[in-house]
């Protein structure tokens, strides 16, 4: 097996994928690869094209252009093979809530052709994995949102998929439950050696879970790397300075030699520096009256993916979502249509 050592098996290959909804490009010429066993994140605001990407990869939508391979099967030409090797947890719940948890899992595993022995064994296994054994015979309509999500993850795993898609799988859950689901995801990635593609607009989620992150905005991938490397682009530390007359402060800070990068956002000026704790006193020493601005607060932190998003798109993810909602009713309508 020596010769195999440097060849990484690819779970997903996407080449120049485009999806056009009546002239509106939901995704625009995107390409990426996901290695087998990796946790890969598509990070971006609502309407950026994450769900469309997932739907194409899971054969539910046809791409307008480009090619996508899942487990080396073509999503257009080898639908059944693709469907067999993937599991998927949709953004909106997709359970039959007139059935119990076991019945939902049983329905799923019969649909995927598991025999009786395998079915019973696997149902127990996946229910244990998401801690729902004691609630197995309760009708799903009596489940809480978090329990439904866990059951859906369990169901996505029933037929031993090689790739699991999680589309906003923690949306609308409380922080505690979200944390739990993160741990389930990490656990099953380790235990079942399963490749996971997740979409999220929670920065901390992508940071915590993903080995690789693609930042996606307006249907395009603007950055793709490990969370650490993405953050390293911004340099060691970020000093956020809240000031009165930020324009003046921006001009002054820009000239300082140890400021590696600088950006302004509302009345906050962000400085990328090394050893930030030693730079704060130097900032304070600047004669603010003389230069015509006033520092109101100073904050020192390590860069987060939020900063990366801001760096690449010029706005925070929340602002992007607001502008989307206003400017792009068509897309919102599509997304919220069920």
């Amino acid at each position: 097996m020596q010769y195999n050592k440097n060849i990484d098996m690819l779970a997903i290959e996407v080449k120049n994928l485009t999806k056009d909804f009546n002239g509106l490009k939901a995704i625009d010429n995107i390409s990426f690869e996901v290695k087998e066993g990796e946790i890969f994140g598509l990070l971006g605001p609502n309407g950026a094209g994450k769900t469309t990407t997932i739907k194409i990869l899971s054969t539910l939508l046809k791409p307008t252009e480009g090619e996508a391979l899942v487990c080396s099967f073509n999503v257009l030409k080898e639908k059944d093979e693709v469907r067999n090797c993937i599991g998927i947890v949709f953004q909106e719940p997709a359970l039959d809530n007139q059935l119990t948890a076991i019945e939902n899992l049983d329905f799923h595993s019969r649909l995927y052709g598991l025999n009786k022995e395998k079915r019973q064994k696997r149902i127990k296994e996946v229910l244990r994995l998401v801690d729902l054994e004691s609630k197995a015979n309760i009708l799903v309509k009596n489940y809480s949102g978090g329990m439904q999500r866990r059951l859906e993850i369990a169901r996505g795993l029933m037929h031993y998929p090689r790739v699991l898609f999680l589309d906003e799988s923690t949306l609308g859950l409380d922080p505690q439950t979200r944390r739990n689901i993160w741990d389930y995801i990490l656990e099953l990635n380790k235990r079942e050696k399963i490749t996971i593609i997740l979409t999220t607009h929670y920065m901390e989620e992508a940071d915590y879970l993903c080995e690789k992150v693609a930042i996606i905005d307006f249907g395009k991938i603007v950055a793709l790397d490990t969370p650490q490397k993405l953050k390293d682009i911004l340099g060691g530390d970020i000093i956020s300075v809240e000031v009165i007359s930020p324009e003046r402060a921006f001009e002054v800070f820009k000239k300082i030699s140890w400021v590696k990068k600088i950006s302004k956002h509302n009345d906050i000026v962000n400085l990328n520096v090394e050893k930030g704790e030693k730079k704060i006193p130097l900032l304070i020493k600047i004669d603010q009256k003389e230069e015509g601005f006033e520092i109101k607060s100073v904050n020192l932190r390590k860069p987060t993916l939020e900063d990366v998003f801001l760096y690449f798109t010029g706005r925070t993810i929340r602002e992007r979502e607001v502008s989307r909602a206003e400017g792009n009713r068509f897309m919102m309508k599509r997304r919220f249509r069920r």
Binding site: S58, T59, L60, L61, K62, K79, D80, E81, R83, N84, I86, I88, F90, E92, P93, A94, L95, D96, N97, Q98, L99, E103, F107, H108, R110, L111, Y112, G113, R155, R337, R338
Partner: protein
């Protein structure tokens, strides 16, 4: 088809059975209307009514019951087909569509589930009608009745699937009820002989597949029909095949 696809038909049927047995209110709800029609029209018009076009020997109840069974089949079957819409609404359709089975198997499974529940409900109405004075002339007619119920059911389930595949959500549901299902019922000869309707309505009646369903049921149960039973069978069969083809074709194009 591969065994996986047969398994899919079975599991779709199984799911429908479980839901049917659990949703008692739904069953009572869909049976209520034919039941009230049967009671009010049956008792209200019984003493006096013998319309031209009705057999002299039969009472109005005898004439009415096959019509009400046809009505039950129409409503429960269309409803079963349209239930695809609720799966769309509650997201469950995605779970089905992403499975590695043929779309045709999904449609056939839904038809299998729908036809079972519809025939059960049709028979419940038949049993109820025995208590209010309906007499079955020929016990062998029951088998023929079953065949007609089957053919009516399959056609209208597929019709429901067709409509559900075109519609995006449940909003158009009442439109279909008001503008398709009710006219289909009223202009099928279920409540009165169609020979009394004015000539300009005749084409509508002849196009209406339920006309042949009700006529066939009447022939099977009370031995009186307007058209030959074989013609009824033949036309219903054509209706079924066209609807199954249309329904599964449109369903296969569904994107979610």
């Amino acid at each position: 088809m591969k065994s996986k696809n047969f398994q899919a038909i079975y599991v779709m049927w199984l799911r429908e059975m479980k839901r049917f047995l659990r949703a008692k209110s739904r069953v009572i709800g869909t049976l209520a209307m034919p039941f009230f029609f049967l009671l009010s029209l049956g008792f209200g018009l019984r003493p006096s009514l013998n319309l031209p076009g009705m057999p002299q020997s039969a009472s109005y109840i005898d004439f009415l019951v096959p019509g009400i069974i046809g009505m039950t089949m129409l409503f429960t079957s269309t409803f079963a087909g349209l239930s695809v819409l609720w799966d769309k609404e509650f997201g469950f359709l995605k779970e089905i569509l992403v499975a590695p089975v043929r779309r045709l198997a999904i449609v056939l499974g839904r038809i299998a589930g729908g036809i079972t529940t519809a025939i059960i409900q049709g028979f419940l109405i038949l049993i109820i009608s025995l208590f209010i004075g309906f007499k079955i002339l020929n016990p062998f007619g029951i088998i023929l009745t079953l065949i007609f119920m089957f053919l009516i059911g399959i056609g209208f389930i597929s019709f429901g699937i067709t409509m559900a595949s075109i519609m995006e959500d449940t909003q158009g549901f009442s439109l279909i009820m008001q503008f398709i299902i009710f006219p289909t019922f009223l202009l099928s000869g279920a409540l009165f002989p169609v020979s009394n309707l004015p000539g300009w309505l005749k084409p509508v009646i002849y196009i209406n597949p339920l006309t042949y369903g009700v006529d066939g049921l009447r022939g099977s149960l009370i031995g009186f029909s307007q058209f030959p039973l074989l013609l009824n069978l033949f036309l219903l069969l054509i209706f079924d095949l066209v609807m199954i083809a249309l329904g599964s074709w449109l369903f296969s194009k569904t994107e979610v």
